[in-house]
């Protein structure tokens, strides 16, 4: 087995610099462990004060057996610490390098490796890499690992496969221990049995047809697999799941396989060699594998669980592929545990049992969503269903969310090191599981859902009737309730199809490049396999290049400006979202530059959004667009995510009033303004269509903070001077606009916060159309006209009107105190209005507004 000589280095513990005094084993002599190789001298300074430095001597003995091939030092050489580290001293040809060991034995020569003696070098340290999936498999040395990997790679290339590491939880399956599932399943099974029985005796079909209703979730739950871990009892498994027996048995695990799993696994198995790498325990992983791969032909025992992983917080590609990761693809729902490995294809987590999360990684730092909005809820911002505010709320609202009190995120790495904390983590996981069993989050969710879906009839039908149904639902799952109950658990996941496409693409690209390279190699007459292998530095076919490349094509050519997405006090380049954007091929900037193509905003009316809107040609989208793009690895159509600028829902939704605290505070102000009898009267007197048109036009043109601010000031003035504003309302052509906008604004804060209602969705399309028409008709001119009219009236504000056209116009000059604080970005349009009407009541409004505005500005930037 002696392929090459072993290089021996001097141990770092020597008192360097040392001088070689004599070489005690000549070249080509046989040495054994303990044979003296060389003697050296060094200068020693005793610890006592004023002691003279003295020469001392030491010896160095061989730690291995073999034949000395060559010495690299000569007698008289002085060796420094650095030199000792860099250069071998002697080459020894070994009979066996002990490159693979198992439980303290060399598997090649059968020698005991656990020798510990004065030499201080245990042979067992020579092989330390664990490559097999099992925990007690052999350990190998680096050299051996490389050789093995090369073999594997060649095998895979020959069969045109890559390696695929598959995560289980939330990637292929979703698991829960919530006993509710068991009950629902029992219900469903009973229902099915009844149906079957009915079919058998046809006569009974009529009488019970209306009454027998199946659990709404049965359809999705039918193919859920279940098993029990823990202490095995051979007694009867009690179906009701309530008795004490069950508690002592450990919970039943319910495994929902992701829709399309069968095709996915079968398809991938032809292109990839599949491995399982999960954070679950070995027993759990084996059970799940038995469910998704009953014959064992997909994974074939290549299963790695947290028992073998060696870390509870990280997954390591090096654990299975210590040297060469160029042919490995990972699919996982969490990128952080892989430390954003380039081999990773991130999967949208499978969240079938709503709110359960990953039952096996409660000890992991909780994953932070990129945005305050969870993707599923934000996916279609304008069209989320009426039903479920409860479901849309981020998981943190869920009482059973598994790790509420985890301090880990600060130091997950350190924590992982101590066994104690690991134990704590595991207990925590257990506790979380127990909590899940006891709290039954699913049952709660379903109840919430029932209540929520019972709400619409409340609005339409009579109050009392719907209340009745509500009570009926919350107490007993009433089978006689006429409308079919909404299902909490749905079979609507298509992630695996999408994932399959990406993996196909990776596979295709890899082997196209591989074929190309091989063809090129064959052209060269003298080329051989060896040569290709030896040329390491240009791996054209490398998954770690292909995946980032595919990823970077997603947002290629997109130049993103984030608005109110990145907190002000952080370095934007360091934030997650920024890195993601770069990873997916987008460019980012902090300022609105000429080449910005997209503004990704978390809320309306920020300075950047307004500036971009004025510029035109820039797509202003919700953050959801960005998150969806990176989640789905495809550039999404922006139209569904556009940040529409004219929120025109007629009534404020009380549910959504709490969207943002500052705006909630503002709301009162608005309500006050709205409630003023005069204003209402004035509004009632106006032709609504005209107003709408004008408003839309105005909003289209400049919907920005300053605008809002000016209105706000006007609003607050209204409280003071109701008469004045109402008079204006009836007089000029400009003031209706202003007034209407004011009213609109009162709606805005709630409407752009969480956007959850269908009324809005219904209204959107005709409104948008009308908006368009209005824009065409008025040509954005009404406002200007109005201002010029006032301008004539107000005289002094003439400067403001002229500036209005220019985007960058700074309006500091004209409109009193408030102008000084504002940014020059987009003041243009409102300066006119402001200036014009501020004539009369500038003294009051100015100061008042100033405070308000400062607060807003601050809050906007922080929040």
């Amino acid at each position: 087995m002696a392929s090459s000589a072993t290089e021996l280095f001097l141990p770092p513990s020597f008192p360097y610099p040392i001088k070689v005094v004599s070489i005690d084993a000549s070249s080509s002599s046989v040495v054994q462990r303990g044979t003296r190789l060389l003697s050296y001298s060094f200068v020693h300074v005793p610890a006592q004060p004023n002691a003279q430095p003295e020469s001392r001597f030491g010896t160095w003995d061989s730690a291995i057996d073999g034949t000395i091939q060559a010495w690299k030092v000569r007698v008289g050489d002085v060796i420094s610490q650095r030199k000792a580290k860099e250069r071998p001293v002697v080459l020894i040809l070994e009979e066996c390098k002990h490159g693979m060991q198992i439980s303290g034995l060399c598997v090649l020569c059968g020698k005991d490796m656990t020798n510990s003696d004065y030499i201080g070098f245990a042979d067992s340290s020579r092989a330390h890499i664990q490559m097999t999936h099992s925990a007690n498999g052999p350990l190998v040395s680096l050299e051996e690992a490389q050789r093995l990997e090369k073999e594997t790679a060649e095998d895979l290339l020959k069969s045109r496969k890559l390696s695929l590491i598959v995560d289980l939880d939330q990637t292929i399956v979703h698991a829960t221990v919530d006993p509710t599932v068991g009950e629902w399943r029992a219900e469903g099974a009973a229902w099915k049995a009844r149906q079957a029985a009915k079919k058998n005796d046809l006569g009974d079909l009529n009488n019970s047809e209306g009454e027998d209703e199946c659990n709404p979730n049965w359809e999705a739950l039918e193919d859920v697999g279940e098993f029990r871990l823990g202490p095995e009892t051979f007694g009867l498994p009690s179906n009701k799941g309530k008795s004490k027996m069950v508690e002592s048995d450990g919970p039943v695990y319910y495994i929902k396989r992701r829709p399309g799993w069968q095709e996915f696994l079968e398809d991938m198995a032809t292109k990839y060699q599949m491995h399982v790498y999960t954070m679950g325990t070995r027993a759990y992983a084996e059970q799940v594998c038995a469910l998704i791969d009953p014959v064992g032909k997909v994974f074939g025992g290549r299963l790695l669980s947290r028992d073998e992983s060696g870390s509870l917080t990280q997954k390591s590609l090096q654990r299975l592929f210590p040297c060469d990761t160029s042919m490995v693809v990972i699919i996982d729902d969490r990128a952080d545990v892989w430390e954003w490995s380039p081999n990773l294809v991130k999967v949208v987590p499978y969240d079938f049992f709503v709110g359960i999360g990953d039952i096996n990684s409660a000890f992991l730092p909780k994953i932070e969503p990129l945005t305050p909005v969870v993707p599923p809820a934000a996916a279609v911002p304008q069209a989320s269903p009426v039903t479920d505010p409860a479901m849309d709320s981020p998981p943190s609202a869920d009482p059973a969310q598994v790790n509420p009190s985890l301090p880990a995120p600060a130091s997950p790495l350190e924590a992982a090191k101590t066994e104690l904390t690991e134990k704590a983590m595991l207990t925590q996981n257990t506790i979380a599981l127990e909590a899940q069993v006891e709290e039954r989050p699913l049952a709660k969710k379903q109840e919430e859902l029932q209540v929520a879906s019972a709400d619409p009839p409340t609005a339409i039908g009579s109050q009392a009737a719907s209340k009745d149904t509500k009570i009926a639902e919350s107490t007993v799952p009433a089978p006689e309730k006429p409308p079919r109950k909404a299902a909490l658990l749905k079979n609507d996941d298509h992630e695996l199809q999408r994932l399959g496409k990406i993996l196909d693409e990776v596979h295709r690209r890899f082997f196209t490049e591989y074929e190309a390279r091989r063809a090129a190699d064959k052209v060269k007459p003298s080329s051989s396999r060896k040569r290709r292998d030896s040329i390491k530095p240009k791996p054209a076919y490398d998954v770690t290049l292909i995946i980032p490349h595919i990823r970077s094509e997603v947002l290629d050519g997109v130049h993103i400006l984030f608005s109110s997405v990145i907190p002000l006090d952080t370095n934007p380049e360091a934030t997650e979202i920024w890195r993601m954007a770069l990873m997916f091929g987008a460019k980012c900037s902090t300022e609105l530059t000429a080449d910005v193509t997209h503004v990704v905003a978390a809320k309306r009316g920020t300075v950047k959004v307004d500036a971009a809107r004025k510029r035109g040609g820039i797509k202003i989208v919700w953050v959801a667009w960005f998150t969806d793009c990176i989640a789905l690895w495809r550039r999404q159509d922006e139209t569904a995510y556009l940040l529409d600028d004219a929120p025109t829902v007629p009534a404020a939704d009380p549910l959504q009033a709490s969207a943002l605290s500052d705006e909630a505070a503002d709301d009162e102000e608005w309500d006050g303004g709205e409630g003023g009898g005069n204003t209402d009267l004035a509004i009632a007197a106006i032709n609504w269509d005209d107003i709408n048109d004008e408003v839309d036009a105005a909003m289209n043109e400049s919907d920005d903070d300053e605008d809002a601010r000016s209105e706000r000031s006007a609003m607050s003035e209204d409280d003071w001077t109701d008469d004045a504003s109402s008079i204006q309302t009836t007089s000029g052509p400009s003031t209706p606009t202003r007034l209407k906008r004011k009213r609109l604004r009162s709606v805005t804060p709630s409407a752009d916060g969480t956007l959850g209602n269908g009324t809005r969705d219904v209204l959107r399309s005709p409104l948008a159309k009308r908006k368009k028409v209005a824009a065409e008709r008025t040509g954005y001119s009404k406002l200007k006209e109005a201002i010029s009219a006032e301008d004539v009236h107000g005289g002094g504000a003439g400067a403001g009107t002229q500036r209005q056209g220019s985007v960058e116009g700074d309006g500091d000059g004209d409109s009193g105190g408030q102008a000084q604080v504002s940014s020059p970005g987009s003041r243009g349009s409102d300066d006119g209005t402001q200036g014009g009407e501020e004539e009369e009541d500038d003294d009051e409004g100015g100061g008042d507004d100033d405070d308000d505005f400062l607060a807003r500005e601050l809050e906007e930037e922080w929040g």
């Binding site: 020569c109 594997t152 095998d155």
Partner: protein, 170 residues
């Protein structure tokens, strides 16, 4: 290799067992205590052949328990380097396979498998296969032990099938 060996075992008996059926209890206790265990010194104790002397019970002052020093004869199995044994393959991975030789698990690395037998990762279950032979789970193999390591309570062994007359047996 198997040996018949005289061994002793100390049994502590609680006073509640003192009575007419004490002897049979001691016997069954001995069987359950020693059979299937492994000591580094003697190897695996496969079975107790006969009890030579159940011992005189000495009641220990303080606890009231009786101490029986039992002498018995047992079949022990101790693997030696160079010994040829038969085993059943238990687990195959790319680096080799594990074979169960009675209670002992022996690892045979792929370097010590004839190069004709190559690891086939695509097969299910995983196997080492040549044109006419296959080693997979539950294949019977004859192997030679090349090294053992003895712990206080455990024995590890490495084997080879890369010699004449070793390998798959039918």
């Amino acid at each position: 290799m198997f040996f018949i060996k005289e061994l002793t075992h100390t049994i502590l008996l609680h006073p509640s067992y003192f009575g007419p059926r004490m002897l049979s209890f001691l016997e069954s206790k001995l069987y359950s205590d020693v059979e299937g265990t492994c000591s580094g010194q003697f190897g695996y104790i496969i079975a107790v052949v006969s009890i030579l002397d159940i011992g005189k019970g000495m009641v220990l002052s303080g606890s009231g328990q009786a101490e029986f020093i039992t002498r018995y004869r047992a079949i022990v199995f101790k693997p030696f380097k160079g010994e040829v044994v038969d085993g059943v393959v238990n687990n195959v991975n790319k680096m080799g396979f594990f074979a169960d030789v009675g209670p002992l698990s022996v690892f045979v690395s792929h370097q010590l498998i004839h190069p004709d037998l190559r690891f086939d990762s695509n097969s299910n279950p995983p196997s080492f296969a040549s044109v006419d032979q296959i080693i997979e789970k539950s294949t019977h193999v004859r192997l030679k032990i090349v090294g053992t390591r003895v712990d206080a309570t455990e024995i590890f062994a490495i084997g080879t099938i890369k010699e004449d007359h070793l390998g798959v047996i039918d």
